[in-house]
Each structure stands twice: as C-alpha cells, then as structure tokens.
C-alpha cells in the first residue's frame, strides 16, 4: 500500500459573533490508497469540518492553525493543500483528486438543473472530454451505482428521485471524475435500513473496483463496523482514539468510545438497559480545559484530567488512545494533586 494523504496538526477555528470558537484541535491521521477510514463522533464534534479541510472547503470565517499541514500524494508528487490559495489552484483537489458526498443530499444538486447536466458540467471542468463523452460516462456511472433506466434518470431533476436514488446519483457524480479520495459525509443517515444496506454494499464494491481511499463519516458504529478498515473517534474537535476497526470496536480504550458502544441498543440482549453517557455536550464557547471529555468522563482522574491534555498512547499495533489512564508514567503524578 502507498500513502494517499497525511493530515498533521490540523487546527481549525471559526470567527463567530460570539467570538472565536475552536472546531478542530490538533488532529493528525493518514490514509493509504484503497483504505476506508470511518470518522465517528457526536454531533458538533468536528467531523464535517475536518473532512472539508482536506479540500479547504470551509467558509471564509475559518482560520487554520499555522502548524497545520495536509499533504496529498499524487502520481506527479505531493501536493501541499494548505498552500493552495485560489480556486483555480484548488481545482486539482476539489472534485478532481478528492470528491465529497455531502451530508444534505438535496444541497448537492442544484434544483433547476438536471442531474445529467450537472454531471457533465463537473466532468468538463476536470477534463477535456467532449459533451458526448461526458454524457456517456455519466450514464455509465449512474448505471454502475445501480440506477435502472439510467439514461432517463440522467435527464431528471433531483426532486424527482426518491431518497435512495438521489443518494446513488450523488455517489455516481462523486465517482465520475475518478477521485483518489472519496469523502462520504453521513451518506446513509437519512436512509432506511434496507436502502442503507444497499448503499453500504455499493461502497464496498467501489473500493474494490476503483481502489480509492474513502473517509466515511457517520455516527452509526454499526455502519463503520461493516465498511471501514480503520476508525477514528472525535470528541469536541479532538481525536480521542484511532485504530483498526476490529480493535477499536472489540477493545475500545477511551472512556468516550466505551460509552458510545455501551449506549448502542443491541438486538441480542433486550434486557440490557441503555447506558447513556452522563451529562450534556459542552457548548463550543465553553471548551473544557485539559481532556475535553473530563466533564462527562465516568473515570475522570481528579485534578489531572481538567489540567493536562492527554496525548496518544499506543495500546496495540496501530491502536492509539488519548487518555491519562493509559499513560502509566503520568498516572501516579495525577493522584497526588487530588
């Protein structure tokens, strides 16, 4: 496998009326070609803005940290994404090497332009195809994602399609430019389980056929378990755990990840009570000091967790957890200050 993208020390803040808020705080990860990474976390934890940063798609009130480095490895050499400034610079990544399926399915298609025209237009921005070639490829992609009667659908508008079909059309459009990296932001959340299962199967096939990297954002751990090779867990803008999907789901190391898994209603044990993670998610304006999870953590170390930011510790091969409990060197220090 060869490296596809490196994200190092991603810091992202937003200027808002209520002040500058931190949305992503020192996030680092990398992805190989053909690898699927699941990104999970509660609403507002920064999943979407992290993903958008890979294409510098965040709005103008976004402020990236000075340490932030994002490197995309293409055949012609590495691309330093943070250094790209104008939209013509960014064309290499936006809709070119990187495609994104957005969280709001309606938002991705312009309502007054047919699906086909939008697909053709996007293809022509990124290649020198003729309209005819672009049309053929688009119809082929629509058929490829399981849309029957693709040449009719090609001429229809987004509102004329059902939810599941719209989702497929979006995937077809995102794939038509043959991206190296596909970012899928909650592509199944609004779908019924039966359609969701179809879309999951489709994504699995596509990884095999196109050998691209995928970042799959969702808060459904079941979906992650069924699609991803590795998983990264975010809480309030920080990465708290990452590792191979089997490892993280079977041996979650971070109290937040453990809480997430325990809170899932499981069908095989209906007597098991639902165990919520206590407390509410803090507002972004009142970001907790030290470990961002300390206000809700059931095993918080008094004195220490509110003070020091935990760093990643490797628990097993490739499995990293950011929690003071896993950092034996610091453990005794913590108890002293109580």
């Amino acid at each position: 496998m060869s490296r596809l993208i490196d994200v190092e020390h991603l810091n992202l803040q937003f200027d808002t009326d209520e002040g500058r808020i931190t949305a992503v705080d020192d996030v680092s990860f990398s992805l190989e070609q053909g690898e699927v990474m699941g990104l999970v976390g509660e609403s507002g934890s920064g999943k979407s803005v992290t993903a958008k940063s890979l294409m510098k798609l965040n709005p103008s009130n976004a402020v990236y940290g000075e340490q932030t480095r994002i490197t995309l490895h293409l055949e012609d050499g590495p691309v330093d994404i943070m250094s790209l400034k104008t939209s013509s610079d960014l064309k290499v990544v936006r809709g070119g090497a990187i495609s994104m399926i957005f969280q709001e399915p309606m938002a991705s298609f312009a309502p007054a332009i047919s699906i086909g025209d939008q697909m053709v237009e996007q293809l022509q921005i990124h290649s020198d195809m003729t309209t005819r070639q672009a049309t053929e490829l688009s119809i082929e992609m629509l058929a490829r994602v399981g849309i029957s009667d693709a040449s009719t659908r090609f001429r229809q508008f987004a509102f004329e399609l059902s939810g599941g079909m719209r989702q497929r059309a979006m995937i077809a459009m995102a794939l038509s430019t043959k991206p190296k990296l596909l970012i899928a932001d909650e592509p199944t959340t609004a779908l019924d389980v039966t359609i969701q299962a179809q879309v999951i199967d489709l994504m699995k096939d596509l990884v095999k056929d196109f050998h691209m990297g995928i970042i799959f954002i969702t808060h459904d751990l079941g979906v992650i378990a069924q699609t991803a090779d590795k998983v990264a867990v975010m809480y309030l803008g920080r990465l708290v755990e990452q590792g191979p999907v089997r490892e993280v789901i079977r041996n979650p190391g971070h109290p937040y990840t453990q809480g997430l898994i325990a809170a899932l209603p499981q069908l095989d044990d209906l007597d098991k009570p639902l165990v919520p993670i206590p407390g509410d998610i803090p507002s972004p304006l009142e970001r907790p000091s030290g470990c961002v999870f300390h206000t809700r953590c059931p095993v918080v170390i008094q004195g220490r967790c509110a003070r020091d930011i935990p760093q990643f510790t490797q628990t097993r091969e490739g499995h990293q957890v950011a929690c003071h409990l896993l950092d034996p060197a610091n453990n005794d220090q913590g108890t002293k200050t109580t």
């Binding site: 808060h219 069924q226 089997r246 453990q258 809480g259 098991k272």
Partner: protein, 378 residues
C-alpha cells in the same frame, strides 16, 4: 390487563388527494389503508417501517390531526370515551388535552423567540387549562423537573441548548397538559447515541410515573426493541405484522420484518449472517401494486400474492401477520437461521484461535482503563 384498549382502530384508511398528475384524474395517495390496531392502556407501542410507509399519517390520524377517509377509531381512558371518527368540536378540544404529539425534529420545533418557560407553558395557555399564572408556573416547574431541566434553563432561549436538552424541552411541552396518550414521532432519530439513550430512559421513566400510553414511531428497530412492549410493522400503508416486542424479534413471521431486521448493520465487523437483502425501494402509494403490497420485493412471492391481498392472520398469542405463506415459511426461516448460526459459530471459533495465537506470539503489556462497561460486539 384485560381492560378495554385505550385506542382501538378498525379498518382505518387515510387518503390524500394530490393535485396535478394526469388530465382530469386525480391520483390518490393511500397513505394508510385498512388498518386494525389496539393499543392497551399503559403500553409503549412501537410503529416501524420504511420512509413513506404511513407511520406519521397513522399517528396523526390517532390524534385527529388529519381527515379520516374511512374506518372506526375509539379512544377510551376509563374517564372519557370518544368516537374519534365522528368527534365534535367541543369534545375534540377536550381530546387535545388528553392526546399529545412530541415532534420529530428538536431543532425545528422550538420557537427561537420564546423562552423555554414560555415554550413549555404555551399549551396550558392555549388550551386554557390553568386558572392563574401562578398555577401555570407551578405546572411548568413540575414537568421541567421531571424532564431534568432546572430553573436556570427556563429563563433561557432554545438556541442556547444542545440537541439532547432541546429534546427534553419538547417532551416537557408535550407532557405539561398531563395527557394520557402521547405520539412520539422519530423523537430520537436526530440524536447521537449517547444522548439518545438518555432521552429514551427519560421517556420510559416518565411513562411509568405518569401512567402514560405511548405510540413510538421510529425507523430504528434496535431502539424500538429496547423501549417498546408491543410493535407494529407498517409497509405501504398496511400493517404487515404486530406482536409483543420479544415475540416479534425472536420469531419474525413476515418476510418484510425479517428483511428489516437483517438490514441493521451489525457491530461485529466479521458478521456475514445477513440472509435477506432487500432489493429496490418501497413503491409509490399513489400506485401500489395489486395483491400483497410487498410482492414487488418479496423473494417468496407466488402468483396468488400478485392478485390477492393477505389479511392479518393470527399466528401466536397476540401475534398477527399478513402473509399468504407465513405458515410454510416458518420452517424456511428456521433453516436459514440455523445455517447462519453455524457459519458465525465457525467464524468465532476461527477468530478466537487466531487471537490466541497472536496473543501468545507477543505479549506486550497492554494497560486498560479500570472500568469498562459491557462493550463486546456480538
């Protein structure tokens, strides 16, 4: 519990006329068609099914918030009894204090310009339930406390709250008039799992404390499995299966219910037990297929299914299923389940062996946090 049911529904249909379509002919949306349903007092009754199957419409019909096309609907809480299909204005006003809706979307439902106190108090004022401001305040404080909102919260505006807190505000607002019957429509769908569990526990607690009857509408079968005591599965306006929760999840009889259950993504990354993949999508309710509504996607469909519509049949105690072939399919399902179990047992044995080999290979000290809530996959 051989009381009369709180809600009793017979042959209920709700159709919507749709404008446009062909010349002259108005296509009709058969959102709910020929539904029979009893909801016992104190029940936490679940209603599941795909998008567009008619869940919201059925819920709204029970609240008399949509016009009813045909059928009988009775509400009887022991104190009052109403024939909802023919209810008159004055009675409807009283019924509205007894039956309430909790909204689907906690973000859209709360007016941004009102304080939380005013949002919760509004139903009391609109329905003229309380006699004085002092009494209103008393009721608001009481229900807010039950929903774990404090006095500080009541003075604020909804934008200052997280999703979970907003949901608790919606719940408080729905319950302040002390209803007997509550329809909760997808009220946890927008929430993260950690918060969702909290809201579900709250609903259950309040239900028991206040002796409420719930109709709980959801896409999410695993949620329904955990909170509901009885479940009805809906497809294209029809009820296809109803049963006590445990019975339904242990012995699903309808091919659609089975497909729904097996489509839930398993937390086990190696799980390959899915036997039932549903192709295609739910047909349009303006143009439902003849015969069994599920025949276009059912892998067991036969000629009879394409012409004759199956009725709800009694399969076991309180367990009803609408499928021509449910009896013959019992064995088919059992065989499939046995085969799936054998596969997964084999796989588990193989993984356990591999893990063991790996662990003895290198035993680097791995530290773990002290407390670890039950968290294994399957």
């Amino acid at each position: 519990m051989s009381d009369t049911p709180l809600i009793s529904v017979r042959d209920l249909s709700v159709h919507f006329g749709v404008r446009g379509g062909g010349l002259g002919k108005k296509p009709v949306v058969r959102a709910v068609e020929g539904v029979d349903l009893d909801i016992e007092k104190g029940s936490f009754f679940g209603l599941v099914g795909e998008s567009g199957s008619g869940k919201t419409t059925l819920g709204r019909a029970l609240l008399r918030a949509v016009p009813i096309t045909r059928g009988d609907l009775t509400y009887d809480d022991g104190e009052k009894k109403y024939d909802l299909a023919a209810i008159e204005k004055g009675d409807l006003k009283d019924y509205r204090t007894r039956a309430q809706l909790i909204f689907q979307d906690p973000y859209a439902a709360l007016s941004p310009r009102m304080t939380v106190r005013d949002i919760i108090a509004e139903p009391l004022e609109v329905m003229g339930i309380t006699a004085s401001k002092a009494e209103t305040d008393e009721r608001v404080r009481e229900i807010a406390a039950k929903c774990r909102l404090n006095l500080e919260h009541l003075r604020r505006f909804p934008h200052a709250f997280s999703g979970g807190q907003r949901q608790r505000i919606s719940i408080a607002r729905a319950l302040v008039s002390r209803p007997r019957f509550v329809v909760a429509d997808e009220s946890v769908a927008a929430l993260d799992v950690s918060i969702q569990a909290d809201v579900l526990n709250l609903l259950k607690d309040i239900q028991q404390e206040m002796g409420l009857t719930f109709l709980f509408i959801s896409h999410d079968l695993s949620v329904v499995a955990h909170v509901c005591d009885h479940v009805a599965v809906m497809y294209l306006g029809r009820l296809v299966e109803t049963a006590p929760t445990r019975e339904l999840f242990a012995n699903p009889r309808h091919p659609y219910t089975r497909a729904l259950l097996s489509a839930i993504p398993s937390l086990d990354p190696d799980d390959d037990s899915v036997v039932d993949k549903l192709e295609g999508e739910i047909p349009s309710p303006t143009n439902p297929p003849p015969g069994c509504k599920f025949q276009t996607r059912c892998r067991f469909a036969i000629d009879r299914c394409r012409t004759e519509e199956p009725l709800l049949d009694h399969a076991a105690h309180q367990h009803n299923v609408a499928c021509h072939r449910w009896q013959e399919l019992v064995e088919v399902f059992e065989a499939e389940d046995a085969a799936a179990k054998e596969r997964s047992d084999k796989r588990h044995a193989a993984t356990a062996k591999a893990e063991k080999a790996k662990a003895s290979g290198k035993n680097k000290g791995k530290t773990k946090p002290k407390s670890k809530p039950g968290s294994k996959g399957k």
